[in-house]
């Protein structure tokens, strides 16, 4: 019997050995792939154990986490819809967007700069707390921007020209991030679906280019900059002033917006007046004369063709390539296939306001750990000289004139010299216009550069125009910055 019992003993050892092997396979060798399986929510639940850091704007809490009794431990809460384009959402059901996504490693405490806190938490057993993000956003300006847009579909970006700090970044319609952050995933999913199915797409961040817009006349700033930078033109340079202009190589005529001559009935018009009255024909002539390469180079120096991490990633604005002269002419007053984001247009105005120096736009002032150690404080980054100081000064004077005695008159603020330019872009036959204003104030000491887009014609189809709908919004935002 002893021999048989030995074999049985061996069998038992073999059985337990196979269990040990299987357990090692599950808990060691295959553990990572099992944890990565989409049906395994445990690592997500682990992340809920950390009290996620807050998002603050000038001392005002914009997003924060509160303790709950359920398995997720903390619930993410948001102040109001005005900030939705900035914060994005943090959702069990639908993931993260906005700052919640871009700075997730800091907010969740997983950033490598939080290493010592992580070790401390492991040793002490105290739960790890995420770092807080302090935004450059001025909450009053943000609120004003969001409310000024109101029921219109559109976006506002306001930048401090000297630093690139973003003071307001609003997109309408906004959304209530609390509806997506709730822990009942069924309800959160339903809320998400109802946002997605809306035709006015609240989840698109129009400020940084979830969709891009035809710039219309605001693009004339870029063309004028290219002209002055070429050295061949100055604001007083004169261009032919016909009533209508046949695009080269086509039978198509283009007109100025009033279908008359630009400014006066004189045979020639200066570039300064063409911008002040926002005339299309002189800019088509100017653009064709400069050539698309010169305009493209200027556009790139303003940031076209590049995405910016602010740290939300913006969509690159587009100036077309491979155009014939007719297309170049159209694109020179912001038609054809020019596509820009409000962020990009605000950067153009900010560079003009800042003596030609373009600053990297940013939403983040600083990132502070739970015990208030500075983990990150981005310094102001120059992206280079977009235009010379002289060109910037010339463009500024022209934009001041456009507001004070031109067609961008609704940008005026009493007692403040405002530089600005409106735009009214066509989107094809029967399609509602896209309405623009971009500019800065005060012109002599710029504190804010702003771009406003109103999509979908502002509900007025082809009857609305930039100075009517977009300029008043920009004026309110600039006033909010200057009056504080």
């Amino acid at each position: 019997m002893t021999r048989e019992m030995r074999r049985v003993t061996l069998l038992i050892f073999a059985m337990f050995f196979s269990l040990l092997m299987a357990a090692s396979l599950i808990q060691f060798l295959n553990a990572d792939s099992l944890m990565a399986d989409g049906r395994n929510p445990r690592s997500l639940y682990d992340s809920y154990k950390t009290q996620r850091g807050s998002i603050l704007a000038d001392g005002k809490l914009v997003a924060w986490s509160v303790k709950t009794d359920d398995k997720y431990q903390y619930l993410r809460e948001y102040d109001n819809e005005a900030f939705s384009a900035v914060t994005g959402f943090y959702s069990l059901a639908q993931g993260t967007t906005g700052i919640e996504s871009a700075l997730d490693s800091y907010l969740s405490g997983k950033n490598s700069s939080q290493f010592f806190e992580q070790v401390n938490s492991l040793l002490s057993g105290n739960p790890l707390a995420g770092a807080s993000v302090y935004l450059t956003i001025d909450p009053k300006v943000q609120q004003v921007a969001y409310e000024a847009l109101g029921k219109l579909t559109g976006a506002v970006v306001a930048i401090e020209p000297a630093t690139g700090k973003i003071l307001a970044l609003a997109s309408t319609p906004g959304f209530n991030a609390n509806l997506l952050a709730m822990h009942n995933t069924t309800v959160a999913n339903n809320n998400y679906q109802s946002l997605v199915s809306r035709t006015d797409s609240p989840l698109i961040n129009r400020a940084i280019g979830g969709e891009l817009y035809a710039p219309g006349s605001v693009f004339k700033i870029v063309v004028a900059s290219a002209a002055f930078e070429s050295g061949k033109y100055k604001p007083s340079s004169k261009l032919p002033n016909p009533k209508k202009f046949k695009l080269p190589g086509t039978t198509t005529y283009i007109y100025n917006s009033g279908e008359g001559k630009c400014g006066s009935s004189k045979p020639k018009v200066t570039i300064a007046d063409a911008l002040r009255f926002s005339c299309n024909i002189p800019f088509a002539e100017l653009g064709i004369a400069l050539g698309q390469d010169a305009i493209a180079a200027q556009a790139e120096r303003f940031g076209f063709g590049k995405s910016f991490d602010i740290p939300l990633r913006s969509t690159a604005s587009e100036y077309p390539t491979g155009m014939d002269d007719a297309q170049t002419g159209l694109s020179s007053f912001g038609q054809f296939n020019d596509k820009v984001s409000p962020l990009q247009m605000a950067m153009v105005s900010a560079a003009i306001a800042n003596g030609g120096v373009l600053m990297q736009p940013t939403l983040v002032n600083s990132v502070l750990s739970a015990n208030l150690a500075v983990l990150d404080r981005p310094s102001d980054i120059s992206l280079g000289q977009a235009v010379s100081a002289g060109t910037a000064s010339s463009i500024k004077d022209m934009m001041v004139a456009a507001v004070s005695k031109g067609v961008s008159s609704n940008g005026r603020i009493a007692g403040v010299k405002v530089a600005g330019k409106t735009g009214t872009a066509q989107n094809g036959p029967g399609q509602p216009y896209t309405l623009w204003f971009t500019g800065f104030a005060p012109a002599e000491n710029p504190q804010v550069a702003v771009a406003v887009v109103v999509a979908n014609g502002g509900g007025m189809g082809q009857r609305g125009f930039g100075n009517l709908l977009a300029a008043p919004i920009a004026r309110k935002v600039m006033k909010a910055v200057l009056n504080k």
């Binding site: 002893t2 019992m5 049985v8 269990l19 357990a23 553990a31 990572d32 099992l34 929510p41």
Partner: protein, 477 residues
Amino acid sequence: MTGPSLLQRASHVIKDQTDPHTITMNIGRLIRVVPRSRNIEAILIFFVLGLYAFELAQVQLSTIAKLTPEFFMLWAPIAVLSVVFHVVLRFKASEADSLLLPIALALNTLGIAEIYRLDIAKTIAGDTDLFGFKQVIWASVALAIGFLVVWLVPTHLFLRRYVYISMIIGVALLLSPMLPFVGLKINGAQLWISVAGLTFQPGELAKIALTVFFAGYLVTHRDSLAAVGRKVLGIKLPQARDLGPILMIWLASLAILVLQRDLGTSLLYFGLFLVMIYVATGRAIYVVVGLAVFGSGAFLAGRILDYVGGRFDAWLNPFSDLHYKADVNSSYQLVQGLFGMAHGGIWGTGLGGGFPQMVPVAESDFIISSLGEELGLVGLFAILGLYLLLVSRGLRIAFNHTDDFSKLLAIGLSFVIALQTFIVVGGVTRVVPLTGLTTPFLAAGGSSLLANWIIVALLLRISDSLKAESPKVKALA
């Protein structure tokens, strides 16, 4: 000094060298001396109770961040009864194995701590179906019955007189879940009976009765079973009439598989029987034939019966959405168990730090994945090490005993714990298809605790009887 002198013993050993079989037995006796120090046992019990307190404290502090009176209510009954058990052993079985009680106690208390930890998670989720205190009550009852067995039963040898009564009791217990009115089906398996609101899994107690029957029957019939009949295809087959019991057990196991819908239980009894008949007769042909008929029976069942085949498919491809989201034989529980264990990794999340409550019926079938998640791979190795140690203590008792009935009984009782652990843990870790058995000592459930503590009591009783038989070993010790 009583017993043979050193010289006599030496000559005895030398003389025995002529027969290699005897010498190995004697070496076994000389080396595998069962430690009998009750003091060691006392120290280990003290240690295990301290560990239990630590586990409960960790559960409470990491989940509700405070210690409540529940801590003491969970700890004290077990502490008192295990000390009483130890005292009973001191007076009634002073030579009994000193590791069995502490090991079983360590597993049992760890199980209670994890079940209580799951209770807290359930309470937070608003679930009122709790098991922690029930488990403490059952463990207390099982401990009490355990020391009563040691106390009131002077020797295990009396069981030999009730071999056929054991068989009848065993078969009756096994078949009772199929009776009308009392039979109860849970999770598709008909393994429970329900009397006056109390549910009971009679198969757990049947494993003791049947082990007693197998041991008694095989000791009596081993010679005729070992005898060779005709040669078929070059294989020496036993005589046809001796194949009767194998066929009977095979049919009974298949009946369990088909009627009670549980592969684990049928595998447990059939495996137990094969090992015991192999040890008793020394004939591997029983194992070969037995595995062949059981395998073909199970294969046929898998082809014919959907629920067997479905479980088999879910075992092979648990991650496919077809099985994961299936209404019947879903692999959801298995896969979530694997996810939980992966979450625990090597070091585990600590008691109270994981999400074992995400696995359905985590407190019974999947207590191992709960512990794997919270104690990690190291914790699981330690738990399996404890089982292996417990089983090997039983095997040592079998090796050391000279009486064949005692040998067979000890190896049967040890093997049934080993095989059950293998089937359950193997089911959770995908070594074998998932079945409806409970993890010995760890899982929530009164019948299982009761049966396994009686097994421990019997092994203690058998180990104590070694003293009377082998003064030689005692003298050497």
